[in-house]
Symmetry: C2
Subunit: 170 residues, 2 copies
DNA sequence: AGCTTATGTCAGTGTTGTTGACATTCCAAG
DNA sequence: CTTGGAATGTCAACAACACTGACATAAGCT
């Protein structure tokens, strides 16, 4: 490690892609790419006095309509106080509807209103558009690799949540 | 677009990887993976009363010792006032040294002290370790694709900054 | 009846972004 | 040489959004 390398020591395999230098480039790629990833929605949100937190909430309510607060909490990985602040404004502004559960009346099920759907559409159009360009430029094999690395990078619980959503959608 | 698809319309090419569903999965993969990406450094920083911004500053000072505040600013994409707060605490705590420029005395050149190097090492070890596992699990072809997609996702300016750093390192 | 779960709220704090104002330094035009 | 503008960096105040801790309410469970 003193030489700043982690590379090919124990086998004939080509492990050059695991040098510290390659890893550092991966880290910086993540940093810069994430900025691009959030840039377009951020611009839209700025005009509406909303932030990234609102986007995330709206996105996952769209994905899993009727989800409970607790469920959303575990997906977003924030505290209920933090989520509540966001949900409250979204409900007040008529973008999200909160219905008392039928079976368990303690639960609140969350849905997007027509306005909420409209905002979600606007935001995800912007984000998908960038993702589409990146995917197209990189090609299908690269996209598969992209997904594979990202999935391996997730915490196990997040990976589980991601997989569950993935199955729901397709 | 009404049917929620973007897919194969205009050619014999297989463009299934560009469906809205695939794009959505890519978006969610970015979201969940970025959380894992920052989780390990965040845990270390929490004990030290530092945050992600400190990590970023230390990382890029390590990468380009002697960089000016302005230079760092353009890489990090925040206001100088925001960066300054972070730099001030790092300098007060003896992790970063700020030297007045020789040619241009308006400039400040930034360097890590021994303590600063130690923290950077600790943080980047943690982050590299996760990246290494993800890379190893995914394999070299996937890593290449991962990088290709991320690079295509960056804003042009960020992509330029990233490329410049990339060339510096290798 | 008593314990737990799900949700919401209030208060306080910390990090990190923002804008506005200002000091210092450099450089170039008059 | 002086003066005015541009570049660089610093200080102060404010907003967004995360956190913790404490508490309230309602509902389900044993």
């Amino acid at each position: 490690m003193a030489d700043g390398r982690t590379g090919p020591v124990h086998s004939g395999e080509n492990l050059l892609f695991l040098t510290d230098e390659q890893l550092r480039q991966g880290i910086e790629a993540m940093f810069f790419a994430y900025r691009g990833f959030t840039a377009d929605p951020d611009r839209i949100l700025a005009d509406l006095a909303y932030g990234r937190a609102h986007h995330r909430a709206v996105h996952f309510i769209k994905r899993a309509p009727g989800t409970t607060v607790n469920n959303l909490l575990s997906i977003l990985g924030v505290t209920k106080q933090s989520l509540n602040r966001v949900l409250r404004t979204l409900i007040e502004d008529g973008l999200v509807e909160s219905r008392v559960g039928k079976l368990d009346k303690r639960e609140r099920h969350l849905f997007l209103t027509a306005d909420g759907e409209a905002l979600e559409q606007k935001l995800s159009d912007a984000q998908r558009s960038r993702m589409r360009m990146a995917f197209r430029e990189a090609g299908p094999e690269s996209v598969a690799g992209f997904r594979k690395v990202l999935e391996a990078m997730m915490d196990p619980e997040m990976r589980y949540a991601y997989m569950r959503l993935k199955d729901t959608g397709s």
